[in-house]
Amino acid sequence: MGEPATKEPLSLEELQASGNLRTGRKHVLSILVENKSGVLTRIAGLFARRGFNIDTLTVGPTDDEQVSRVTLTVDGALHPIDQVTKQLHKLVNVLKIRDLEPDDTVARELALFKVAADGAQRGELMQIIEIFRGKVVDVTKRSLVIEVTGTTEKVEAFESMVRPFGLIEMMRTGEIAISRGRGET
């Protein structure tokens, strides 16, 4: 039987109140997986099933060629993340999961910005790039491509600074993260 049992229609407010549990806290999940086909789909499926939006997702090799590392960030309330983490543990190809504490973690992403920069504005733009310790990796008469690495906040700050110059496009990798200190992530 479907719920609820009553024949009264549900108001849109009631519907939203029942489903909206997000707190806005960002979670960085670092997941070690067996390097096998379909693993990423299994992981993504657990989030999709709950209507969770994965904000960023990176997958790459580790020092062991049989093992890959998935780093994903997701915005959710603590309890739903807890449940989805437990479900992730149940995937046979998942070896280890950590919900990284921001204070104990170094997180970085790489971003590439293509910015319109003709003549007069170029000097000012170069100053900003310097402040952010960015690198110019491509130059034409009318544009620059700039490489920036850092935390999500830094990348976003850089974006807001260069946007007025004429941001043509931007590519971001999403965060990778590693725990601080001697222990393994």
Binding site: M1, E3, P4, A5, T6, K7, V33, E34, S37, G38, T41, R42, G45, R49, D82, Q83, K86, Q87, H89, K90, L91, V92, N93, V94, L95
Partner: protein
């Protein structure tokens, strides 16, 4: 050796004695291997029937069920049984054919992305990309299916790979570094649980299908009876704790309204009955007032808790489950214990006994429970004429089978009445679709159970709506002489939906009437089974005995009261204390 012959060797090494399946293009090589393999294969009429039969086999025997299907439509027909096995934690290995590797992703004939489609509904799956992987994948599939929290595992084998010539060596181990179920249970937590039980004054044991899956029924009884703990079971747990005490039949009061001649054995003194939406008041009220609930292999399903925020408001929770993802999923556990019921309960008994608790502290609690039992016994108003009340039909079947049959059911009113009124003395006797609620489950599940347990009577209690969803398997039963007895509770309605429309939607009946179609007696005969029709309460028990004594598959059309409601019930979204009826 051909990979498919190696596959057969693997099945034999796993102790597989029967496979339910249907051949097609992509698994032609596999079916060729069946010719010489010496494994019994039962040719089903629809892959869904095969899948449910494998589930019924697994649930009745505790062994892993096996179902085969071809690619494309064969595999998609398995979707319902796979989901069903996932929801009810049934160990089944599904082996599907796939198109040749060169056709993968090209929309080849009978191609479907079986691995992709089934990903959310399997415990695990293996996409064979190299024929050398086949033996290991098969053994790992069986291992994953039966261990930890059991579930469905699918192996998809492209046709060309299955024809490959491979060296076969028996596989002795599994390599699954990411899969290590915790069985033992943390000793400290178990000690904490024992202490909490000693301190409790109003405890309830709430046992689910996990007890059946772990074969922990004896441990559950020992635990419950090491003090006078009241026990309730979920729909999936029925039989894990015996419904009846040691004293057979006797002078106990018959249930109110229990008409006709059907009589029952005295209930086990610590048995409260099933809990949940259609559970007993004693069980639901006990949960509502409990100060400590010990959940064992149960998952606080919404059909058990009712309105979650008002569920068992005074209780602290011990939650024992082999699946850590179940613990604190719906109800936060105060004492979580990850482990399987068998290991944990046997340790818990030892810890509890060591504390020498005083049973007298439970006297007041039992007085309260006895009050509910007396005030609200399970019952119904019997007919004054020959009309068969559906509840009576279940009681009559209990009598006709001595309460010792394996009973399967479909989904709906008849399922709830069967759960309420049959009374299961042992685990693996009650086989139904609890989580997914699959209509059409009962008949093929009975077929699988009968194949797995040939020495025990297997009865399917079906609805007239549900039974038609897999009635084609009667042909399988006729061909294989599988002697299931199907008792159709025929009220001419999709009864549970009708009940809800009556109670909650102003009796605006919308597409629930089935009419007198088909003629089930003729249908049975057309399939090569025996057909019978019973309409008289007075002779029902004897009639049923006659049906059960008839050789081969039998279908009985039992005409029952048309508009009877399943009571008591917790209206959806309400707390347990708001039970009606």
């Amino acid at each position: 050796m051909r990979a498919v012959d190696a596959l057969m060797e693997c099945l034999k090494a796993e102790g597989v004695d029967v496979v339910f399946g249907l051949p097609g293009g992509a698994n032609l090589p596999t079916y060729d291997a069946f010719v010489d393999a010496g494994i019994r294969h039962i040719l089903v009429r629809h892959e869904a029937g095969g899948g449910h039969a494998a589930e019924g086999y697994a649930k009745a025997t505790g062994r892993v069920g096996v179902a085969f299907a071809t690619s494309g439509p064969g595999a998609t027909n398995l979707i319902t049984p796979i989901t069903d096995a996932m929801m009810d934690s049934v160990p089944v290995v599904f082996i599907t054919g796939q198109v040749r590797t060169e056709l993968l992703g090209t929309d080849g004939f009978q191609e479907a992305d079986t691995i992709g489609i089934t990903m959310p509904i399997v415990k695990h799956s293996f996409m064979i990309q190299d024929p050398l992987e086949i033996p290991r994948a098969i053994h790992e599939a069986f291992y994953v299916a039966r261990s930890g929290r059991p579930g469905p595992v699918l192996v998809d084998i492209p046709q060309d790979l299955s024809r490959a010539d491979i060296p076969y060596e028996p596989v002795a181990d599994v390599r699954l570094p990411g899969y290590q179920p915790t069985l033992e249970g943390n000793q400290k937590q178990i000690r904490q649980a024992a202490k909490a039980l000693v301190a409790s004054r109003r405890p309830v044991i709430y046992a689910g299908g996990g007890v059946v899956n772990a074969d922990a029924s004896e441990e559950l009884v020992e635990f419950a009876t090491c003090d006078r703990f009241p026990v309730t079971c979920t729909l999936m747990g029925l039989g894990a704790f015996p419904a009846f005490g040691d004293t057979a039949d006797g002078d106990s009061d018959p249930p109110a309204g229990g008409g006709g001649r059907a009589r029952r054995r005295a209930p086990h003194p610590q048995w409260l009955g099933m809990l949940g939406m259609h559970g007993t008041r004693a069980a639901n009220y006990a949960m509502d007032e409990a100060d400590l609930i010990c959940a064992v292999g149960a998952r606080f399903d919404d059909r058990v808790t009712g309105k979650l925020s008002e569920f068992a408001p005074r209780a602290k929770f011990i939650h024992i489950d082999v699946d850590p993802a179940e613990i604190s999923k719906n109800v936060p556990a105060h004492i979580p214990i990850v482990g399987d019921a068998k290991h944990v309960l046997s340790k818990l008994v030892v810890e509890y006994r060591a504390l020498s608790a005083d049973s007298a502290r439970l006297a007041e609690w039992w007085e309260r429970i006895e009050g509910w039992r007396k005030q609200y016994p399970l019952g119904y108003e019997d007919s004054s004429d020959s009309e068969i009340k559906p509840q009576y039909m279940i009681q009559a079947l209990h009598e006709a089978t001595g309460g010792e049959a394996i009973v399967t059911s479909d989904v709906g009113q008849h399922q709830m009445w069967a759960a309420q009124y049959y009374g299961f003395p042992a685990p693996r006797r009650w086989i139904n679709s609890g989580g997914l609620g699959t209509m059409g489950f009962g008949l093929p599940a009975a077929m699988g159970a009968a194949v797995g347990c040939p020495d025990r009577a297997v009865c399917c209690i079906a609805g007239d709506g549900s039974v038609q969803m897999n009635a084609q398997e009667l042909a399988t039963c006729a061909q294989e002489r599988i002697p299931i007895k199907v008792f159709i509770m025929n009220n001419g309605y999709l009864g549970m939906v009708r009940q809800w429309q009556e109670l909650f939607w102003d009796k605006r009946y919308s597409h629930v009437e089935m009419g007198p179609y088909p003629d089930f007696v003729k249908l049975a005969e057309a399939y090569g089974a025996t057909g019978m029709r019973f309409e008289d309460k007075a002779t029902l028990v004897d009639d049923m005995k006659r049906a059960i004594d008839t050789a081969g598959p039998v279908v009985v059309d039992v005409k029952v009261t048309r508009e009877e409601n399943t009571y008591p019930m917790i209206p959806a979204g309400q707390p347990a204390r708001e039970m009606v009826g």
